[in-house]
Each structure stands twice: as structure tokens, then as C-alpha cells.
Symmetry: D2
Subunit: 372 residues, 4 copies
Amino acid sequence: MNDRKPNLTFTIFLILTSALFCSAQSRVEVNLPDIPGYQTLKCDFHMHTVFSDGDVWPTVRVQEAWLEGLDAIAITDHIEYLPHSQDLESDHNRSFEIAEPLAEQMGIVLIQGTEITRKMPPGHLNALFVTNANLLERESWWDACVEAKEQGAFIFWNHPGWKAQQPDTTRWWDEHTRLLNAGMLNGIEVYNHQEYYPEALDWARQKKLTVLANSDIHSPTSMTYGAKHRPMTLVFATDKSPGAIKQALKENRTVAYFDNQLVGDRQYLTPLFFGSIKIKNKQVGLENHQIKKVQIHNDSDIDFHLRLRQPAIGLSCPDEITLEAHRTIFIDLTGTSDEVKAMDRLRLFYEVTNLRTLSGSPLPVNLDIANR
Amino acid sequence: MNDRKPNLTFTIFLILTSALFCSAQSRVEVNLPDIPGYQTLKCDFHMHTVFSDGDVWPTVRVQEAWLEGLDAIAITDHIEYLPHSQDLESDHNRSFEIAEPLAEQMGIVLIQGTEITRKMPPGHLNALFVTNANLLERESWWDACVEAKEQGAFIFWNHPGWKAQQPDTTRWWDEHTRLLNAGMLNGIEVYNHQEYYPEALDWARQKKLTVLANSDIHSPTSMTYGAKHRPMTLVFATDKSPGAIKQALKENRTVAYFDNQLVGDRQYLTPLFFGSIKIKNKQVGLENHQIKKVQIHNDSDIDFHLRLRQPAIGLSCPDEITLEAHRTIFIDLTGTSDEVKAMDRLRLFYEVTNLRTLSGSPLPVNLDIANR
Amino acid sequence: MNDRKPNLTFTIFLILTSALFCSAQSRVEVNLPDIPGYQTLKCDFHMHTVFSDGDVWPTVRVQEAWLEGLDAIAITDHIEYLPHSQDLESDHNRSFEIAEPLAEQMGIVLIQGTEITRKMPPGHLNALFVTNANLLERESWWDACVEAKEQGAFIFWNHPGWKAQQPDTTRWWDEHTRLLNAGMLNGIEVYNHQEYYPEALDWARQKKLTVLANSDIHSPTSMTYGAKHRPMTLVFATDKSPGAIKQALKENRTVAYFDNQLVGDRQYLTPLFFGSIKIKNKQVGLENHQIKKVQIHNDSDIDFHLRLRQPAIGLSCPDEITLEAHRTIFIDLTGTSDEVKAMDRLRLFYEVTNLRTLSGSPLPVNLDIANR
Amino acid sequence: MNDRKPNLTFTIFLILTSALFCSAQSRVEVNLPDIPGYQTLKCDFHMHTVFSDGDVWPTVRVQEAWLEGLDAIAITDHIEYLPHSQDLESDHNRSFEIAEPLAEQMGIVLIQGTEITRKMPPGHLNALFVTNANLLERESWWDACVEAKEQGAFIFWNHPGWKAQQPDTTRWWDEHTRLLNAGMLNGIEVYNHQEYYPEALDWARQKKLTVLANSDIHSPTSMTYGAKHRPMTLVFATDKSPGAIKQALKENRTVAYFDNQLVGDRQYLTPLFFGSIKIKNKQVGLENHQIKKVQIHNDSDIDFHLRLRQPAIGLSCPDEITLEAHRTIFIDLTGTSDEVKAMDRLRLFYEVTNLRTLSGSPLPVNLDIANR
């Protein structure tokens, strides 16, 4: 390079080496099955960059998303909190503009978003699918939400139980009812960063809000989550496109995925579970007084913890089972009646304690095992 | 328990706790695809127990096989080398008899085998599918092989380049030709324990011997291999049964799998490779002067190392690619001619350096990528 | 080798390759500090081999002990339960005799032991430091214990809360009182295999029994514990010798180490904790309204979980701290009074929740931090 | 928060949660011993932030340094290459100013640096210990270097073999000689990012340049290095201070540490090696025809690969040894003469193939083992 005027050769070399560097990285897929009728998209709709109070350049959010197996993300820099404003110009669309070309190249769906950042009530709200974030810079939060809605936004309440804003009790305010009634509150985070809000789950069920789990990451993701996965919103969409995601979010087709937990509507949890496991025995052929080993494989990234819900008929089976991620285990079935020999199918009644329905209770599952 | 007469209650409790203990373990599947027409069975046909010079009870070999994702094993205790004979009775069928019921329960195919253990020539020979190993205890090794053959055995030469028996050069002896001509030498280990024998690969090709890779393990497997996989013989069988395995072995339908290497006939390596990878882009739409990212997923346990064999037409692509196990990577394709825009399909000419055909050369593979 | 008469060359080669194989393995040290006046020896005094109902040859127990960082072990095959007797001669001294030469070579202290295996009462008892286990094969368990004591044995009660023998409540029987009074009950397992017995801890305190944690392993250890450490009895001995270990056991100088827990007398837990951690700041220089970061390094294998016991004077500090194994963390101290500036030393009052004294309560620790 | 004016409460909460978040992280120490007379400081003197072409906010560089066990770093943003200038003001001192307070808090020595970024010759030069980077923005690179020198800088040549600037051969230019003669070239990177330059090592030896290994990281470090350590310059300093580091750099007291390699002056490599290992046997007592096991512990993070340099007297020992990081291994010594019994000390002559002196040859080491 020559005296501050980067010549073309230099620039090309930088691009080349940068491309080479990227090639050396690899993506870890998130292993969770699609469900009948829908793709299961892995999404994170809440994160920051240097353009608000985050620590990374917008392209890093795309690289991280690709490396960590995500399908779609939204960068949601604060409208009202800009601690780097001494150094950075404040155009609320910049982080999206900068990240967009890389997202396109990498096949990551990048949804334009922003965070309306107010004291409680109504607290912090994310608006996804906005078209011009600068127009949301308004004196009143209500006006900001109206503007977002006019841009076609999907709006959700962030970290509703955040101690910084709700130190004592996690409550629902009249302002949230107003937003809800005006169609300006469509979803709610039941999980944010490293924190779970059981109250939010209740509200999601009662008020038909879409459940979300997001990272709200400010640092590089690996600095917070290390080798663990970040929180994700699983979106059940007809295809991998912004439109299909928007439609799914509007129709509550999501499950929150964080730590080793899934939380959401039973109609989505059930096929996620049964799409993950496979009973490997063809026929068990159990008879009274016999012990037979049944092998079950779990092809997903989640360890499923099962607890017996009620006894099986004609046999005994373990009180608790852990179906480890990407492993096969066996369980022992013991025949306890003469009738078992004649049964075509053995049915085991469990519940999955780390899969929670909208009512907060474990997902009931029946394991059917061919006997003859 | 009371005074050396184990009562029933005690025994039952021991069984119960033993069963509980086993339930706590889980099986790691070996992720390699089936190929058209055949299941890909993961097998280890060479191992020892306390009944010869091994360190474990026969049931441990079955437990290890199950935990490590194997489908079939043979316990092959030495006929002629019994260092524990001061403590253990020497019935050459005992290790099979003891392990068999557990193998049945766990769904592991246990093949009865034994090791004819002689100085060079002919060295050590494993006989699989024997029915009474005691009858192989003969003064002459020729007679032992004849007996094995009469029992229907598949016989292979173990660790042909073992320095203890072939310290200077690894050679093929007249005695091996005699065995071969008499139909009493059907396979050869190209890999044993932690050692590779390139000469054996040549002989396998020239003499139509079945290639094998086996552990020859004496200690608990994890003490030698830790978290790595043991060497395996991949058998391409019509089903998971002793008969189908025997048929496959007789028809040379195997590939040796050790470390991060596959060695065998190109007709099996090719579908193993293409069954493992998936190009994730639908259409690349490459034009001249453009760079497009192609994403490739590898669903297998093997890191595939690809090297460019010849240039592609109308585009440039990386000289080297590593398709990491269970990861997605991307490569950059750069359009270098105007014609590329009109091509329906982009073809990349690579070879896989860690997949070796019987001639010892890297497997050639052509990656076809839909362009329009 | 020639027709069943192993010649010398063959044998030497086998020994050589076996030695080579062993050289390839490496030992993971257990990182826990010595304490003033004593070495901290890592011991496991309960395990089985094929000579009773275990799954491995006795030498494997020595190899495992070396690989896993142990200093001393006892092989304690059952006197009365010999399920392999059809295949193995029953000399109760054989497992010790076979393992001893390797233990000597590898620097592992091998203590001769055996398990007196009876129904409850008194259940299973281990006798360590016996000189001829065959003499313990007696009709009555009392006579077996008397014989053990005459041989100078240290006797302890195994898995006192084992559900197979104490299905409903874990109780202390009159027979145990008799043994105790006769000096034939010297210790008790508070942890066995994968199970903890809180009642045993109470009895240890009340009756001055030595606390032990042992594996009672039957399979290869890695098959049960994988990459985790097995349960261990930490013995505080004047040197690494059978005599010093016996003396330490008789004087109750032990701590039970299992999972991420230490359980034992406060006089040993306290120096184990303080010998593990180091405050890295020289002087903090805290003043009112300031926040200062204090860095603490933990050089041990244990994650210490600390909980605030009472507030510090003149400052606030975190309610909970985790000192991760082999890591440095920092905590924030906030000055809350003007006096803090003049304090030479800041004292923080915590308790370590995963270090339990004989009374079962968390170990109290005071962290002193130089301020000026 | 209310209408863009962050109130105090909000700000305090943000700070608090940020502090809490940081507490959850832990530092991995780099385990390499100090050497007689000096502390071994782990340093990285080349890295970028959003203030030139990097991807992270300056504070991230300090957090990463702390988490990864470093003692000192220099942020060295380009003077002449500012691709983010559309969004960020270009004050070349800003990245230092922003990172400095956190470095102070965390105990990381932050050295002000900058990168003079020119085409070849002279290529890219880092200037450490500058006091005002803005003054280095000069038309001519010579003037920039003169300015740096006047500020007291230590100047080194970055990635001298970088293909983007030296595509064919890695050569030393007249301009470098001019810089050297003017005292404006004091060191050279023998390793940069993921690349090693053997020519640089030759020049370092011939021209008395200080050897350095640096990351030149642009992304978050974990995105490039994952769980591996980044390249580091080990600095042997009298204390952990900018002054002592500057003194050490000027006196060539460094070793380059990258991958599993150390490269530098033999006078530093030798104590690093011997400070890392410990022979655990007190006295071996070897006699002719005996085999004795010697146990060697390696307390460092480096796997040392040893190769026999010449035979020992009176005994044989392995041709190759690997001393795995944080492990103990044993080697077998075999007595081969009657004299060995009388020797007080057994001396083994090895060289460490992954420790390279300035001449590029393996470090010779003699292992002395007490025999009697």
C-alpha cells in the first residue's frame, strides 16, 4: 500500500486472504428435525453491534450465525442508547446495510430489526421487518411503535422479567394491554441471554403471543456461550425466507430453545420429539418373566429426560430414562403378566421433563414398541 | 449372602444392579452411510480375552462393541498361546460361549473365531465362523487350517508386517501361496491395532484377498484408543446376520477403516463418499468475474481431504478442501470465462487423499454443482 | 511360535510390544494439594477382578490406577461370591499375587485386601492389609473378621446404604456395634461406586470411623466413569508407603472425594481449600464508592462453589462465587464506607457448599485480601 | 429508558449487568514456567479493532487477552488503511484510549501501538510504545518511522513472508537495511496469524532482531483459534510492566510460541524446557539386564517431542519420547553393561524437535536420572 491510497492490488489481496481465512471455518449444524408441513428454522432475533452498545462489527453477527448453524437472525441495535456515538455516526439502518451483503452470500436470512429502548413501562421492544429504523427515533414510545407497525413490523417484548426494570415482581402493565389491543405487541421473550421468565410463558398462552428465545448478545457469542449453543427461536416455516418467517411468527409457530430445554406449544413439541428418536428393535417378543432390551436412538442435539407417567400394561419399565443426544441407549422391559405375550404393541407412558408446553408442564409422550 | 452359598435374592440383586449399571451407558453410532444394495456393517474380527492373553472377561468385548457402535465382532483367542493357563481351564470355545448370550441380548452379531498362532511362516491366522475351536489344536498348522476349512471358516492372515515376525522385510512366503491355492487364505489385515501394512494392500489386490482392519485388542479398548474409534472392517452385507457377513467376506465386500482413512475397492469407496456429503446450494448461478460460495455438508465421522486433480472448465476453485466430519464448509468458485454463465452444471475434479483404492492411490471424485 | 511350545523369542517379542504399548499411555495427575505435615495420597480401596465377579485381569487394575493418577489401591475380590469358579481356580490371594509385580514397577502401592461378603447384617466388609486371604474363608462372618484382625487388617463397612441389602431404611445393626467394640470395624464407605450415604457420615462422626469413598468397580473403570474421575479416598500420610497409609487410616486421616465433592473432617478440608487457591492481587487499595477487581486462581481439579456467609465490613462482594478448576476468575469488591480505605486487610466470609464437614455442613472459609 | 436521554438508573443497571456478565467468565492460564531471573510474560503485539479493519470494539481485545491468559498486548490499528472510515472518526489514538481503563482494571499491560502500513518495501511495520499515533500519519514511511523512533518506539517488521507482498521469494530489501542501520528496525515476526517464516528466523539471528509471534487478529480471536492458543511472544522481563517489557524487547529476550512450537535463543529455551519437566523417580537402581521404568511429568501446556541424539552409556532408552502436556509418562531403561550398576547418574541425550533454536535446529537436552 502506498501512502494512504490503497491500491487495487493491495485491496484484492486483502479480500483474497479474508476469503481464505473464512474457508478455514466450518459450520456446526443444529440437529433438530423438521416437522410435518414445515421446516424448523433456527433463529436469533435479538443482538447488538458497535452501532449501539455491542462489541462487534455487523458482519461478525452473520459469520457467527453461519458458524453456529442458524438460518435467520435480526440485528436489533438500540434506537435510544448509543454509547459509542462519540466515535460512530448514528444511522439506525447502518448495521443492517453493512451486514446484508455477507448474509446474502452465506445464505443467512437477515431480517432488519431495531430495539425501542424505554424505561418500564413498556420496557424494551424489538421491532422486526422494519424498512427504515431511523423513522422509529421518536419522542414517544407509542409513536415509535405506531411507526413500526406502519412499516409492517412484528413487535415483541424483550426480557420482560429483567431485574433492572422489574426488580421486585415481574408484572404486565396497562401499557402492554394497550399495545396488545392495538396489534403492536405480537410476541414475548420467554428466554433472554441466560435468563428464563416463567411469567412470560403464562402471558404467551393467555394472550396468544409468540414465544421467543434470543441471545441479546453484545460481545462475541463465543465469549458468552463458549461451546454451548446460544438461545434460539425455532420457527416452523414453509420455507427459508423472510416472508415465511414473518408469517410463522404472526401465527405463533415457534418454540423457544435454550440450554437443554424446549418450551412451546404441544403441537410443535410432539413432532420435534418423535422426529428425533427411533426405536431400533423390530419386534421385541416379550413374554412374562422375561427381560428384553429395547434400543432407542436419539438423533437430535437435545438430551431428552423422560419420567414414567403411568405404568405400562403387562410389563415394567424404568422410572426414568435419559435419551442422550446422538446416542443409542437401551432400556429393559420386564414381562409381568401372561397377556403380554399376545400384545402386538407395548405402550410406555412417559413425559419429557425438559420439554415444556405453554402451560409449563412436561410434554406427555407414549412410546409404542412393536412386540410381535 | 451366607457362607458361600449365594442365595437367590443375592443373585437377583446383583443382576438388577448390573442391569441398572448397563442402562446408564450409551452407544456412540459410527456414522458412515449404507451403500446401494448393502448395509454398511461396522466390524472388528480380531480381539482377545483372559481365555488367551487378553485382559478382560469375554462379556466386556460385547459391551465395548455395543458402546462403540459396532455391529459384529469375533473373539479370536489364541489356540497355542495361553499365558493364563495356570489359573484358567483351556477350552477354546469358552470365550464364545460366555459372550454369546449377552451379544444376543444387545443385538451384536458374535462370530465364533480363533487365532492359529504360529511362528513365520505362516505366522498368525484368524479363522472365523468355526464351530468347535478345540479341534484346531493340532500339531501342524496345516492340519489346523484344514480343520478350520472343514468347519467352513473364513481364514485371514493377521498383521502380516508385524516386526516381531518379519523384522526386516515384509514378505509373502511359499506357505501363503499353498494356503491360498488350497482355499485356506481368504483375507488379510491391511491394518492391525495401530499399524498399517501397505504390502498387504498390494497382495489383496493381486490375489483377491478380502481387506480387513482389526483391533487385535488385549486391554480394555478405551485404554488403547481413548476417545478415538478402533480400527474396523466395514462389511457391505445384505443384512445384519452371520450368514450375510460370511457371504460378504467371501466376496471381498469390505473396506478397512482406521484413523481417518478408508482403504478398499473403489466400487465401495465411491458410494461411501457420495453418501456422506451433500451440496446445499440449489443453484449457484455463477457468471464470469463473480465469486459464489458453495456450501457442502459432510454427515459422516470422517474428515475428507480433497486435492484438485485437474482444473474446472470456466471457473477456478480451491486447490485443497477439507470437508470436516459433521460440519458444513463453503468454498468459493470464481467465474473465469463468459461461457460459465450458460453451463447447467459446474464440475469440479478432486481426489480424496485419505480414501485409498486397492492400488494405493487417492479416490478420484467429481463434484457436480447445479449452476442454472 | 511353534506348535504350542512358546519359544523364548516369541515371548520376548510379546513382552516388548506390550511394553511399547504401555509407553504410549500417559498418566493424568489428580491435582489436589498436599497439606501441612502430610502428603495427600489418592486411593481406591475397593475393586474387583475376574478372580471374583469382576471383568478384568488383576494387572488392569494397576494400569488403570496409574493412568488415573492414583497412588494406592486395594484389590478386594469377594471371598464368598465366585461366579467364574467354573473357569478359574479359587485362590483368594491370586489377584494380589498377579498384580503385585506390575504395581511395584509402576510405583503404585498395592495393598492386599479382600471382601467378606455376607447378607445383612453385617453386609459386606472389606479387610485391607491382610496377609493370607484364604484364611478368611470361614463359615461364620465373625470368625472371618477375627482372622482378618489377627492378620492386622483395617476393616470397613462397604456401601452401608446399598438398596439390595437395606431396601427401606439405612440402619446400623447390633452386629456393627459388636464389631466396633471388638475393634473389627474401623471405617465406613460414605460413597460407593456412584452412590452417597449421608447416614454413614453421621456414624463416622459419632463412632470415630474413617470415611472412605471407593469405586467398587467391576468393569473397566473408563466404562463407568468415562472421562470423569472415579471416587477416591484421600489419605493424609507421612509418606507413600503401605505402613504410612495404614497408620493414616487408623487415625481417621482421610477425606472422601467423589464427583465435585469433598467430605471429611474440617481440619483436612480447610488446608485442601487454601492450598488450592491463590489471590493474585498484591494490594487492592479499595476506597469508598470504588469497585476493584480481585483475581483468584484455583489450581486444583475441583470447582469450588462459595456462598456468602455474612457480609463483609466496609464493602460489598458477590453472594455467590464459583472458583472453576484450573482457572482464574475475578470478583468485584465495592467500597461501602469511608473506613475501608484505612483497612489493611479485607475479610470476606464465605462457605464452600461442595466441601462438607463430618457434620454435613458446608466448610466455612474466610478470604483475606491485602488492601494496603 | 426515556426518550434518548439515558437516565442514571438505567446506566447503572447496564454497568451492573455487564459486570455480572464478566464475572461469569474465567481465565485460562498459559502454563509455561518462569526462568531464572525473569518472569515469562505471555504477549501479543499485533491486533486490530473496528478503528482500522478489525471486527471488534477495542475493549474486546482486553477481555480476550484476560480470558486467554495473556499478560500484555498491543493494539496496532493501521495508520493508512481505514475501511470503516465512512462510519468511524479516524483518530489513531482512540482504540488505545478506549481499551486502557479496562486493561488497567483487569491487570493487562496495554502497550500503545500502531501499524505503519505500506507496500513492499518496507511492507508493514508495527511501532510499539508510541505516545501519539496520529503523528505517524506521514506521506513517507521513513518519516513515519523517524517519528515513531522519536517517540521511543520499538519497531518490528510484520509478516515478512506474506504472499500478498512477497508472492515469489521472501527477501530482505535495502530499505530494511537502512531502517536497521538507523535503529528503526528492532524486531521481526517469525510467525504471524497462522503462518511461519523460516527466513525471518535467519535474519533475526544474523541481524540481532528480536523474534516475535503475534496473532494479527481481526475477528474475535476464538473465531480463528477456537480452543487452541493464539500465537504469542514470550517476553522474559524483570517484572510485569511496560518498562520491563520494553527493556526485554530491546535486549532480544523473547521466544516465539505458536501451535506446539517454541522458537528462539537456546539460552531461553533450555530453562523453559527444564522448568516444565520433572523426573519423579528418586533413584532408579538400574543394573545390567534389568528394565526400570522412569516416570517423567510435564507441567507445561506444550507436548515435548524428544528424539535420541546419541546413545546413553551402559543402557538403552527409547528412540523417541513424547512428554504430553500436563501428563506423566514412563520410559523403560534397559541395563546393557555391568558398569551401569555403579553409575550415580544415568544421562540420556535427546533433542526436542518442536523447540527450535535461532539456527533452526532442535534444542539438545540431557536428561540426568539419579541411579544410586
